[in-house]
Protein backbone atom coordinates (compact mmCIF):
# COMPACT_ATOMS: atom_id res chain seq x y z
CA UNK A 1 0.00 0.00 0.00
CA UNK A 2 1.30 3.48 -0.80
CA UNK A 3 1.56 5.86 2.15
CA UNK A 4 0.29 8.76 0.08
CA UNK A 5 -2.54 6.76 -1.51
CA UNK A 6 -4.05 4.44 1.10
CA UNK A 7 -6.84 3.28 -1.23
CA UNK A 8 -4.64 2.06 -4.05
CA UNK A 9 -1.74 -0.30 -4.67
CA UNK A 10 -0.27 -1.09 -8.08
CA UNK A 11 1.79 -4.24 -8.64
CA UNK A 12 3.21 -6.16 -11.61
CA UNK A 13 1.85 -9.47 -12.89
CA UNK A 14 5.01 -11.58 -13.48
CA UNK A 15 3.51 -13.65 -16.30
CA UNK A 16 2.20 -10.52 -18.08
CA UNK A 17 4.89 -7.79 -18.01
CA UNK A 18 2.76 -5.31 -19.94
CA UNK A 19 -0.15 -5.60 -17.49
CA UNK A 20 -0.42 -4.10 -14.02
CA UNK A 21 -2.71 -5.15 -11.22
CA UNK A 22 -4.42 -2.31 -9.40
CA UNK A 23 -5.77 -3.11 -5.97
CA UNK A 24 -8.37 -0.57 -4.86
CA UNK A 25 -9.74 -0.49 -1.32
CA UNK A 26 -12.56 0.97 0.74
CA UNK A 27 -14.52 4.04 -0.29
CA UNK A 28 -13.32 5.68 -3.52
CA UNK A 29 -14.67 9.15 -2.82
CA UNK A 30 -13.72 12.64 -3.91
CA UNK A 31 -10.75 12.64 -1.48
CA UNK A 32 -9.28 9.55 -3.22
CA UNK A 33 -9.25 11.04 -6.71
CA UNK A 34 -5.94 12.87 -6.61
CA UNK A 35 -4.24 9.97 -4.81
CA UNK A 36 -5.44 7.51 -7.49
CA UNK A 37 -4.17 9.81 -10.21
CA UNK A 38 -0.79 10.29 -8.48
CA UNK A 39 -0.33 6.58 -7.94
CA UNK A 40 -1.11 5.71 -11.56
CA UNK A 41 1.28 8.37 -12.84
CA UNK A 42 4.05 7.09 -10.60
CA UNK A 43 3.66 3.30 -10.92
CA UNK A 44 1.86 2.50 -14.15
CA UNK A 45 4.58 3.70 -16.52
CA UNK A 46 4.40 3.60 -20.29
CA UNK A 47 5.58 -0.04 -20.43
CA UNK A 48 2.19 -1.01 -19.03
CA UNK A 49 -0.46 -0.98 -21.66
CA UNK A 50 -3.22 -2.76 -19.76
CA UNK A 51 -4.52 -2.60 -16.19
CA UNK A 52 -6.75 -4.92 -14.23
CA UNK A 53 -8.41 -3.31 -11.22
CA UNK A 54 -9.19 -5.63 -8.32
CA UNK A 55 -12.41 -4.20 -6.88
CA UNK A 56 -13.05 -6.95 -4.31
CA UNK A 57 -12.37 -4.61 -1.35
CA UNK A 58 -14.06 -1.52 -2.76
CA UNK A 59 -17.17 -0.48 -0.88
CA UNK A 60 -18.13 2.70 -2.77
CA UNK A 61 -17.23 4.47 -6.00
CA UNK A 62 -18.25 8.13 -6.01
CA UNK A 63 -18.94 9.81 -9.34
CA UNK A 64 -15.70 11.82 -9.09
CA UNK A 65 -13.67 8.63 -8.68
CA UNK A 66 -15.59 7.03 -11.52
CA UNK A 67 -14.68 9.98 -13.73
CA UNK A 68 -11.02 9.59 -12.74
CA UNK A 69 -11.07 5.87 -13.57
CA UNK A 70 -12.60 6.75 -16.93
CA UNK A 71 -9.74 9.16 -17.63
CA UNK A 72 -7.18 6.50 -16.69
CA UNK A 73 -8.99 3.96 -18.85
CA UNK A 74 -8.66 6.37 -21.79
CA UNK A 75 -4.88 6.54 -21.29
CA UNK A 76 -4.61 2.74 -21.43
CA UNK A 77 -6.87 2.50 -24.47
CA UNK A 78 -4.56 4.98 -26.25
CA UNK A 79 -1.68 2.56 -25.56
CA UNK A 80 -3.64 -0.29 -27.18
CA UNK A 81 -4.87 -1.84 -23.93
CA UNK A 82 -7.62 -1.10 -21.44
CA UNK A 83 -8.46 -0.63 -17.77
CA UNK A 84 -10.83 -3.44 -16.83
CA UNK A 85 -12.53 -4.07 -13.50
CA UNK A 86 -12.73 -7.40 -11.69
CA UNK A 87 -14.14 -9.12 -8.61
CA UNK A 88 -16.75 -6.50 -7.69
CA UNK A 89 -19.30 -7.23 -5.02
CA UNK A 90 -22.82 -7.77 -6.32
CA UNK A 91 -23.95 -4.57 -4.60
CA UNK A 92 -21.28 -2.47 -6.31
CA UNK A 93 -21.97 -4.14 -9.65
CA UNK A 94 -25.64 -3.20 -9.34
CA UNK A 95 -24.63 0.41 -8.71
CA UNK A 96 -22.43 0.34 -11.81
CA UNK A 97 -25.37 -0.97 -13.82
CA UNK A 98 -27.64 1.78 -12.47
CA UNK A 99 -25.06 4.41 -13.40
CA UNK A 100 -24.60 2.84 -16.83
CA UNK A 101 -20.87 2.39 -16.08
CA UNK A 102 -21.07 -1.28 -17.05
CA UNK A 103 -21.43 -0.07 -20.65
CA UNK A 104 -18.13 1.79 -20.39
CA UNK A 105 -15.97 -0.57 -18.33
CA UNK A 106 -15.47 -4.26 -18.95
CA UNK A 107 -16.34 -6.00 -15.70
CA UNK A 108 -15.02 -9.50 -15.03
CA UNK A 109 -16.23 -11.82 -12.29
CA UNK A 110 -12.74 -12.47 -10.94
CA UNK A 111 -9.07 -11.71 -11.57
CA UNK A 112 -8.42 -14.97 -13.40
CA UNK A 113 -11.24 -14.23 -15.87
CA UNK A 114 -9.81 -10.75 -16.43
CA UNK A 115 -6.34 -12.16 -17.14
CA UNK A 116 -7.72 -14.89 -19.42
CA UNK A 117 -9.76 -12.32 -21.32
CA UNK A 118 -6.66 -10.17 -21.80
CA UNK A 119 -4.67 -13.15 -23.10
CA UNK A 120 -7.50 -14.00 -25.49
CA UNK A 121 -8.81 -10.63 -26.65
CA UNK A 122 -5.69 -8.50 -26.67
CA UNK A 123 -2.79 -10.91 -27.12
CA UNK A 124 -4.86 -13.29 -29.26
CA UNK A 125 -3.34 -16.28 -27.50
CA UNK A 126 -4.24 -19.84 -28.44
CA UNK A 127 -6.12 -22.07 -26.04
CA UNK A 128 -5.71 -25.83 -25.91
CA UNK A 129 -8.30 -28.29 -24.68
CA UNK A 130 -7.85 -32.04 -24.54
CA UNK A 131 -10.74 -34.43 -23.99
CA UNK A 132 -10.38 -38.16 -23.57
CA UNK A 133 -13.51 -40.29 -23.46
CA UNK A 134 -14.64 -43.90 -23.88
CA UNK A 135 -15.41 -45.06 -27.40
CA UNK A 136 -19.19 -44.90 -27.04
CA UNK A 137 -21.72 -43.10 -29.23
CA UNK A 138 -23.75 -42.03 -26.20
CA UNK A 139 -20.93 -39.76 -25.00
CA UNK A 140 -20.53 -37.85 -28.27
CA UNK A 141 -23.53 -35.44 -27.81
CA UNK A 142 -22.05 -34.10 -24.55
CA UNK A 143 -18.66 -33.65 -26.24
CA UNK A 144 -20.08 -31.76 -29.23
CA UNK A 145 -22.29 -29.58 -27.01
CA UNK A 146 -19.29 -28.70 -24.85
CA UNK A 147 -17.19 -27.70 -27.87
CA UNK A 148 -20.07 -25.65 -29.28
CA UNK A 149 -20.35 -23.72 -26.00
CA UNK A 150 -16.58 -23.11 -25.98
CA UNK A 151 -16.81 -21.65 -29.48
CA UNK A 152 -19.65 -19.31 -28.51
CA UNK A 153 -17.71 -18.26 -25.43
CA UNK A 154 -14.68 -17.55 -27.61
CA UNK A 155 -16.62 -15.17 -29.81
CA UNK A 156 -17.44 -17.47 -32.71
CA UNK A 157 -20.91 -16.72 -34.05
CA UNK A 158 -23.90 -19.02 -33.79
CA UNK A 159 -23.51 -20.36 -37.33
CA UNK A 160 -19.80 -21.14 -36.92
CA UNK A 161 -20.41 -22.75 -33.52
CA UNK A 162 -23.10 -24.94 -35.08
CA UNK A 163 -20.78 -25.95 -37.93
CA UNK A 164 -17.99 -26.78 -35.49
CA UNK A 165 -20.47 -28.75 -33.37
CA UNK A 166 -21.40 -30.74 -36.50
CA UNK A 167 -17.73 -31.35 -37.35
CA UNK A 168 -16.98 -32.58 -33.81
CA UNK A 169 -20.06 -34.82 -33.87
CA UNK A 170 -19.11 -36.40 -37.20
CA UNK A 171 -15.41 -36.95 -36.47
CA UNK A 172 -16.17 -38.38 -33.03
CA UNK A 173 -18.90 -40.66 -34.38
CA UNK A 174 -16.40 -41.73 -37.02
CA UNK A 175 -13.77 -42.43 -34.34
CA UNK A 176 -16.27 -44.58 -32.44
CA UNK A 177 -17.39 -46.40 -35.57
CA UNK A 178 -13.90 -47.28 -36.80
CA UNK A 179 -12.08 -47.52 -33.46
CA UNK A 180 -11.51 -50.13 -30.81
CA UNK A 181 -14.15 -50.46 -28.10
CA UNK A 182 -11.79 -52.01 -25.54
CA UNK A 183 -12.18 -50.54 -22.06
CA UNK A 184 -8.99 -48.47 -21.98
CA UNK A 185 -8.88 -47.53 -25.69
CA UNK A 186 -10.27 -44.03 -25.30
CA UNK A 187 -10.87 -41.49 -28.04
CA UNK A 188 -8.83 -38.32 -27.69
CA UNK A 189 -10.09 -35.00 -29.02
CA UNK A 190 -7.62 -32.11 -29.05
CA UNK A 191 -8.96 -28.62 -29.66
CA UNK A 192 -6.73 -25.69 -30.46
CA UNK A 193 -8.73 -22.50 -30.69
CA UNK A 194 -7.48 -19.03 -31.43
CA UNK A 195 -8.86 -15.72 -32.66
CA UNK A 196 -9.20 -16.78 -36.28
CA UNK A 197 -9.46 -20.56 -36.46
CA UNK A 198 -10.06 -23.80 -34.62
CA UNK A 199 -8.06 -26.97 -35.15
CA UNK A 200 -9.48 -30.33 -34.11
CA UNK A 201 -7.70 -33.67 -33.86
CA UNK A 202 -9.71 -36.80 -33.18
CA UNK A 203 -7.59 -39.84 -32.47
CA UNK A 204 -8.69 -43.41 -31.85
CA UNK A 205 -7.08 -46.80 -31.37
CA UNK A 206 -7.66 -49.02 -34.38
CA UNK A 207 -9.94 -51.96 -34.39
CA UNK A 208 -8.22 -54.55 -36.64
CA UNK A 209 -9.74 -54.45 -40.13
CA UNK A 210 -11.74 -51.26 -39.64
CA UNK A 211 -8.73 -49.03 -40.37
CA UNK A 212 -8.61 -50.43 -43.92
CA UNK A 213 -12.32 -49.67 -44.37
CA UNK A 214 -11.75 -46.06 -43.34
CA UNK A 215 -8.67 -45.77 -45.57
CA UNK A 216 -10.73 -46.98 -48.57
CA UNK A 217 -13.54 -44.57 -47.72
CA UNK A 218 -11.14 -41.62 -47.44
CA UNK A 219 -9.46 -42.53 -50.74
CA UNK A 220 -12.78 -42.75 -52.53
CA UNK A 221 -14.27 -39.63 -50.99
CA UNK A 222 -14.98 -37.07 -53.68
CA UNK A 223 -15.92 -33.44 -53.37
CA UNK A 224 -19.48 -34.36 -54.25
CA UNK A 225 -20.95 -35.29 -50.89
CA UNK A 226 -24.51 -35.75 -52.09
CA UNK A 227 -26.37 -38.40 -50.22
CA UNK A 228 -28.50 -41.06 -51.91
CA UNK A 229 -32.00 -41.97 -50.92
CA UNK A 230 -31.09 -45.50 -49.86
CA UNK A 231 -28.04 -44.44 -47.87
CA UNK A 232 -28.46 -44.45 -44.09
CA UNK A 233 -24.91 -43.48 -43.12
CA UNK A 234 -21.40 -42.92 -44.42
CA UNK A 235 -21.63 -39.23 -45.36
CA UNK A 236 -20.22 -37.87 -42.12
CA UNK A 237 -16.63 -37.18 -43.19
CA UNK A 238 -17.78 -35.90 -46.57
CA UNK A 239 -19.99 -33.41 -44.72
CA UNK A 240 -17.00 -32.44 -42.57
CA UNK A 241 -14.97 -31.87 -45.72
CA UNK A 242 -17.56 -29.39 -46.95
CA UNK A 243 -17.87 -27.56 -43.62
CA UNK A 244 -14.15 -27.43 -42.82
CA UNK A 245 -11.36 -25.39 -44.34
CA UNK A 246 -9.09 -28.45 -44.30
CA UNK A 247 -9.56 -32.15 -43.58
CA UNK A 248 -6.75 -34.68 -43.27
CA UNK A 249 -6.83 -38.25 -42.07
CA UNK A 250 -3.87 -40.37 -41.10
CA UNK A 251 -4.78 -44.04 -40.89
CA UNK A 252 -2.15 -46.38 -39.46
CA UNK A 253 -2.23 -49.90 -38.02
CA UNK A 254 -2.28 -48.39 -34.53
CA UNK A 255 -5.08 -45.95 -35.01
CA UNK A 256 -6.61 -43.10 -36.92
CA UNK A 257 -6.03 -39.38 -36.54
CA UNK A 258 -8.50 -37.06 -38.24
CA UNK A 259 -7.32 -33.46 -38.39
CA UNK A 260 -9.71 -30.61 -39.20
CA UNK A 261 -9.06 -26.89 -39.52
CA UNK A 262 -12.00 -24.51 -39.58
CA UNK A 263 -11.46 -20.80 -40.15
CA UNK A 264 -13.72 -18.34 -38.37
CA UNK A 265 -16.43 -17.11 -40.75
CA UNK A 266 -15.04 -13.52 -40.95
CA UNK A 267 -11.65 -14.95 -41.94
CA UNK A 268 -13.16 -17.01 -44.75
CA UNK A 269 -14.79 -13.92 -46.23
CA UNK A 270 -11.74 -11.74 -45.63
CA UNK A 271 -13.29 -9.49 -42.99
CA UNK A 272 -10.75 -8.77 -40.28
CA UNK A 273 -11.47 -7.34 -36.85
Amino acid sequence: MNDDAPNIEITDIPSMPEVCLVRLNGDLDIDSVSAIDRCFSRHADSTKKHAIADMSNVTLVASAALGKLLGIKRRFVERGGDLVLAAMSLELKMKFVLMGANKIFKIHNDLRSAMNAYAWEVKHETEHIRLSFPSQLAIVPAVRNFVSQVMLHKGYNDRDSFRIETIVDEICNNAVQYGSHEEHDNITLRIKVDWEKVELDAENISDPGKGDMLRMYMNNMKNDVRIHEDEKRGRGLALVKMLASELKADVTDKGTMVHVTKLKEEQVYGISD
Partner: protein
Protein backbone atom coordinates in the same frame (compact mmCIF):
# COMPACT_ATOMS: atom_id res chain seq x y z
CA UNK B 1 -26.53 -40.70 -22.54
CA UNK B 2 -28.39 -40.32 -25.81
CA UNK B 3 -29.50 -36.95 -27.14
CA UNK B 4 -32.94 -35.79 -26.12
CA UNK B 5 -35.57 -35.92 -28.81
CA UNK B 6 -39.28 -35.82 -28.37
CA UNK B 7 -41.81 -36.60 -31.08
CA UNK B 8 -45.23 -35.06 -30.48
CA UNK B 9 -47.85 -36.61 -32.76
CA UNK B 10 -51.09 -34.90 -33.78
CA UNK B 11 -53.82 -36.04 -36.11
CA UNK B 12 -54.85 -34.06 -39.17
CA UNK B 13 -58.45 -32.96 -39.53
CA UNK B 14 -60.26 -35.00 -42.17
CA UNK B 15 -57.26 -37.25 -42.85
CA UNK B 16 -57.12 -40.55 -40.99
CA UNK B 17 -54.06 -41.53 -43.01
CA UNK B 18 -51.96 -38.49 -42.00
CA UNK B 19 -50.11 -37.22 -38.92
CA UNK B 20 -48.21 -34.11 -37.97
CA UNK B 21 -45.09 -34.95 -35.93
CA UNK B 22 -43.37 -32.16 -34.05
CA UNK B 23 -39.65 -32.91 -33.50
CA UNK B 24 -38.23 -31.34 -30.34
CA UNK B 25 -34.50 -31.63 -29.60
CA UNK B 26 -31.51 -33.07 -31.45
CA UNK B 27 -31.59 -35.87 -34.04
CA UNK B 28 -28.33 -37.79 -34.17
CA UNK B 29 -26.71 -41.22 -34.14
CA UNK B 30 -27.79 -41.88 -30.54
CA UNK B 31 -31.54 -41.66 -31.13
CA UNK B 32 -32.20 -42.33 -34.84
CA UNK B 33 -33.31 -45.88 -34.09
CA UNK B 34 -36.00 -44.67 -31.68
CA UNK B 35 -37.28 -42.16 -34.25
CA UNK B 36 -37.21 -44.75 -37.03
CA UNK B 37 -39.19 -47.28 -35.00
CA UNK B 38 -41.80 -44.74 -33.89
CA UNK B 39 -42.50 -43.50 -37.42
CA UNK B 40 -42.40 -46.96 -38.98
CA UNK B 41 -45.06 -47.97 -36.43
CA UNK B 42 -47.21 -45.08 -37.68
CA UNK B 43 -46.74 -46.27 -41.27
CA UNK B 44 -47.84 -49.75 -40.18
CA UNK B 45 -50.95 -48.24 -38.57
CA UNK B 46 -51.86 -46.75 -41.94
CA UNK B 47 -50.56 -43.22 -41.23
CA UNK B 48 -48.68 -43.06 -44.50
CA UNK B 49 -48.60 -39.26 -44.87
CA UNK B 50 -46.33 -37.57 -42.36
CA UNK B 51 -45.70 -33.85 -41.95
CA UNK B 52 -42.59 -33.40 -39.79
CA UNK B 53 -42.52 -30.01 -38.05
CA UNK B 54 -38.85 -29.09 -37.46
CA UNK B 55 -39.51 -25.74 -35.74
CA UNK B 56 -38.00 -27.09 -32.52
CA UNK B 57 -35.49 -29.48 -34.06
CA UNK B 58 -32.23 -27.77 -33.06
CA UNK B 59 -29.72 -30.17 -34.61
CA UNK B 60 -29.41 -32.96 -37.14
CA UNK B 61 -26.28 -34.79 -38.29
CA UNK B 62 -25.52 -37.02 -41.29
CA UNK B 63 -26.94 -40.11 -39.59
CA UNK B 64 -30.15 -38.26 -38.76
CA UNK B 65 -30.45 -37.10 -42.35
CA UNK B 66 -29.90 -40.65 -43.57
CA UNK B 67 -32.88 -41.76 -41.48
CA UNK B 68 -35.07 -38.93 -42.80
CA UNK B 69 -34.28 -40.03 -46.35
CA UNK B 70 -35.03 -43.62 -45.45
CA UNK B 71 -38.41 -42.57 -44.01
CA UNK B 72 -39.16 -40.54 -47.13
CA UNK B 73 -38.41 -43.52 -49.33
CA UNK B 74 -40.46 -45.87 -47.11
CA UNK B 75 -43.45 -43.51 -47.24
CA UNK B 76 -43.30 -43.36 -51.05
CA UNK B 77 -43.14 -47.15 -51.24
CA UNK B 78 -46.42 -47.22 -49.30
CA UNK B 79 -47.93 -44.60 -51.65
CA UNK B 80 -47.60 -42.04 -48.89
CA UNK B 81 -45.36 -39.03 -48.26
CA UNK B 82 -42.89 -37.63 -45.73
CA UNK B 83 -42.89 -33.82 -45.75
CA UNK B 84 -40.76 -31.49 -43.69
CA UNK B 85 -41.61 -27.95 -42.55
CA UNK B 86 -40.09 -25.09 -40.51
CA UNK B 87 -36.46 -26.12 -40.93
CA UNK B 88 -34.12 -23.77 -39.07
CA UNK B 89 -31.26 -22.03 -40.90
CA UNK B 90 -28.46 -24.14 -39.40
CA UNK B 91 -30.18 -27.45 -40.06
CA UNK B 92 -31.15 -26.35 -43.57
CA UNK B 93 -27.51 -25.65 -44.38
CA UNK B 94 -26.58 -29.25 -43.46
CA UNK B 95 -29.50 -30.61 -45.52
CA UNK B 96 -28.38 -28.46 -48.45
CA UNK B 97 -24.68 -29.37 -48.28
CA UNK B 98 -25.45 -33.05 -48.23
CA UNK B 99 -27.71 -32.69 -51.26
CA UNK B 100 -30.90 -33.77 -49.52
CA UNK B 101 -32.98 -30.76 -50.58
CA UNK B 102 -33.77 -32.46 -53.87
CA UNK B 103 -34.66 -35.74 -52.15
CA UNK B 104 -36.83 -34.41 -49.33
CA UNK B 105 -40.08 -32.48 -49.65
CA UNK B 106 -39.39 -29.29 -47.71
CA UNK B 107 -42.00 -26.58 -46.97
CA UNK B 108 -41.79 -23.24 -45.18
CA UNK B 109 -44.75 -23.98 -42.90
CA UNK B 110 -46.75 -26.94 -41.61
CA UNK B 111 -49.87 -25.41 -43.22
CA UNK B 112 -48.23 -25.41 -46.66
CA UNK B 113 -47.12 -29.01 -46.18
CA UNK B 114 -50.65 -30.01 -45.13
CA UNK B 115 -52.20 -28.15 -48.06
CA UNK B 116 -49.97 -30.07 -50.48
CA UNK B 117 -51.64 -33.31 -49.36
CA UNK B 118 -54.98 -32.27 -50.86
Amino acid sequence: MESQIELKCEGMKGRSDAQVIRFVGDLDATNVQTVLEKICNLFNEGKIHIVADFAKLRYVNSTGLGILLHLSKSAKEKAGSFKIANVNENVFEIVEIIGATSLLEIYDTVEEAQASLN
